[in-house]
């Protein structure tokens, strides 16, 4: 069950993410922002719901489509937006950009521009937690396409053998760029691959907050009880192109529209109204998100560029 506090947090987070992504689109289109930017509009429920169950000490590893994870895990919108603009005030001092954004302080071990690259890193963070007898878990987010990289296989096998507290969250949006899942993934439900690692695997509707939450909390309980990892597949859809300007010859407008009908935010809002939230409460949350995003944009636009003189700093850690 989702408490009222957590429910409003999830709803707020989804709005933050949506608002953030919408701003990114317009900043990109007005040339205020460049580079590889992958937006998660339509997929917000997953990051928001999963992370609503985590503390700042739990770990996540994220993907090239990582703004949502970053925000849901607790990152400040302003530093995040500044990073996307390559500003000195960004989480990574402007060195990472959208595809390489991290916030170690909130347990986000990083977006990962290499498909699948973050999966074993989460396993290692979970291993550290286990070895240090801490109660933190690690969550690895990745896409359907990533489940065809060898590293997915290696990481899940390791996690199962070592019974570490990690939860694998596959965001199956049906495509890896232009390649439909049927052309790249030899099974329909990626969750069946859990069988290869002797771990539970479950598929849920990735646009349904409650379904995600139920599956995730079961996995979390398992992880915290020392029973090892779980693979959760969330079926969802990305509304926008893979990149800004993607002509999307690989799918139809009807398909896109049909998924917009299934908007996770709208859907959860309706659920919340049923559960006793008032329209005003919801509106207030969405307004709060809007305001935060606007402030973040201002902050980022007004931030300075990184100092070229410091370009070689931080390649290595050096004792002060």
């Amino acid at each position: 069950m989702i408490s009222k506090e957590r429910a409003s947090r999830i709803y707020l987070t989804m709005h933050r993410i949506r608002g953030f992504e919408e701003q990114v689109v317009s900043l990109f289109e007005s040339n205020k922002l460049r580079g590889s930017v992958h937006l998660c509009i339509g997929q917000e429920a997953i990051a928001a719901t999963v992370c609503s169950n985590l503390t700042e000490k739990d770990y996540i590893t994220s993907t090239h489509r990582g703004h949502g994870h970053c925000i849901a895990k607790g990152a400040r919108l302003d530093y995040a937006m500044a990073e996307l603009m390559g500003k000195a005030t960004g989480y990574c001092k402007g060195r990472g950009g959208s595809m390489h954004i991290a916030d170690f302080e909130t347990g986000n071990l990083g977006a990962n521009a290499i498909v699948g690259g973050g999966i074993p890193i989460a396993v290692g963070a979970a291993l550290a937690s286990k070895m240090q007898k801490r109660k933190e878990v690690a969550v690895s987010f990745f896409g359907d396409g990533a489940s065809n990289e060898g590293i997915f296989h290696e990481a899940l096998n390791l996690a199962s053998l070592w019974k570490v507290p990690v939860i694998f969250v596959c965001e199956n949006n049906g495509y890896g760029i232009s390649v439909p899942a049927w052309q790249s993934t030899s099974v329909e439900d990626i969750s069946v691959r859990a069988v290869s690692y002797n771990m539970p695997g479950v598929t849920v509707d990735g646009n349904d907050v409650e379904a995600i939450d139920e599956a995730f909390r079961a996995a979390l309980e398992r992880a915290r009880a020392g029973e090892g990892p779980t693979l959760i597949e969330c079926k969802t859809y990305r509304w926008l192109g893979h990149w800004t300007g993607d002509p999307q010859p690989y799918r139809t407008r009807e398909e896109i529209e049909s998924w917009k009908e299934k908007c996770p935010i709208k859907r959860y809002g309706e659920k919340l109204l049923e559960q006793g939230f008032t329209a005003e409460e919801l509106e207030q949350l969405s307004q709060q998100a809007k305001k935060e995003v606007e402030e973040a944009v201002d902050f980022a636009l007004n931030s300075p560029l990184p100092d070229e003189g410091k370009i070689l700093e931080d390649v290595f850690y050096e004792e002060a």
Partner: protein
């Protein structure tokens, strides 16, 4: 001859070669209906079908290994990597399998396999998607390494690569795809491997550069001319085989060498060229060879940092002046 972009020059050669030899096929990520992220396979699936223009899953090691197997079994695969950075996830298949199969098995295999894709800076792709990988493949033996810097070179070298019975690493540059130039359309037009191209003749300093840096070296040469320094710009075209003779002869003439590339300077291929030239033309050198390359940090995202991390035209001019003591 016709005027076309570097990307289209590549696409056209692939198409011509697929028409000519039905054993040629191409596979990679998003190459079918999307035509590749940079359009190098645009519409090819319409002519050749999705068996020969084959979308792959995101499994670079797997499909490069499959390319090797197919090559051993009589096909002539072209494997597209979306970014050459992704050679890193497939490195064992490239260095231990593709590169060694012919030699270690006693020379009995032919491996007509091209692994091609783009690399480099210019689109804000940051550290994991902007690297220059060619040095690794020069170091480990068994692969030919081509680096075209113009549409015409891309066409001529790619055809040579596809018809070669050896594995070829074919490096394109993302910031060159939109460049336009005259391209020889003759379906037999080929540029030989191991023959450097003197892109500009000069007498005072030899500048060796590849890919995007050929353009930048030529710009630098123009600036240098305005201050009375005559720069010879040499594009090695292939790093393996490497045309030592052309470079060494040029330095024997100019007495000065600057090597510039986007690959990291430290232990980059420019070090090999500088050391090789020093060995072969020591007595002709009026100044120590200089090398320019990316700094020893991962390539940063912010544009001002990316620029600071990589050699700029002004840096090339500066280095050339330095070796000329001017």
């Amino acid at each position: 001859m016709s005027k076309k972009t570097y990307a289209i020059a590549i696409r056209d050669v692939i198409a011509q070669e697929m028409r000519r030899d039905e054993n040629v096929f191409i596979m990679g990520e998003d190459i079918e209906i999307l035509g590749g992220i940079f359009g190098c396979t645009r519409d090819l699936y319409k002519e050749f079908g999705t068996e020969r223009v084959r979308n792959t899953p995101i499994s670079e090691a797997g499909f490069i290994g499959a390319g090797l197997g197919a090559a051993c079994a009589g096909m002539r695969p072209i494997v597209e990597l979306m970014y050459m950075d992704f050679t890193l996830v497939a490195m064992d298949q490239i260095i231990n399998q593709v590169a060694k199969t012919r030699y270690i098995f006693g020379g009995r295999a032919k491996i007509p396999l091209v692994i091609r894709g783009q690399q480099g800076i210019g689109r804000g792709n940051a550290a994991t998607h902007s690297q220059s990988m060619e040095t690794i493949f020069m170091h480990f033996p068994g692969l030919k390494v081509a680096c075209p810097s113009t549409p015409q070179d891309a066409a001529g070298l790619l055809r040579t690569a596809i018809r070669d019975d050896n594995p070829v690493m074919f490096f394109e540059h993302k910031a060159l795809y939109a460049d336009k130039g005259e391209v020889n359309d003759d379906p037999e037009f080929m540029l030989p491997f191991g023959k450097a191209d003197i892109k500009r003749e000069g007498t005072d300093v030899t500048i060796v550069a590849n890919l995007l840096y050929v353009k930048r070296a030529l710009e630098a040469a123009k600036e240098l001319e305005s201050i009375g320094i005559s720069a010879e710009v040499i594009d090695p075209m292939t790093l393996v085989p490497f045309d030592k003779e052309t470079v060494v002869n040029s330095v024997k003439k100019t007495g000065r060498l600057v090597v510039v590339h986007e690959a990291h300077r430290n232990a980059g291929w420019g070090a090999e060229v500088a050391a090789m030239v020093t060995e072969e033309a020591f007595r002709y050198l009026d100044a120590p060879p200089l090398r320019l390359g990316a700094l020893a940090c991962p390539l940063p995202f912010a544009l001002n940092l990316e620029n600071a991390a990589t050699p700029q035209v002004a840096d090339i001019v500066q280095a050339a002046r330095q070796v000329c003591y001017r």
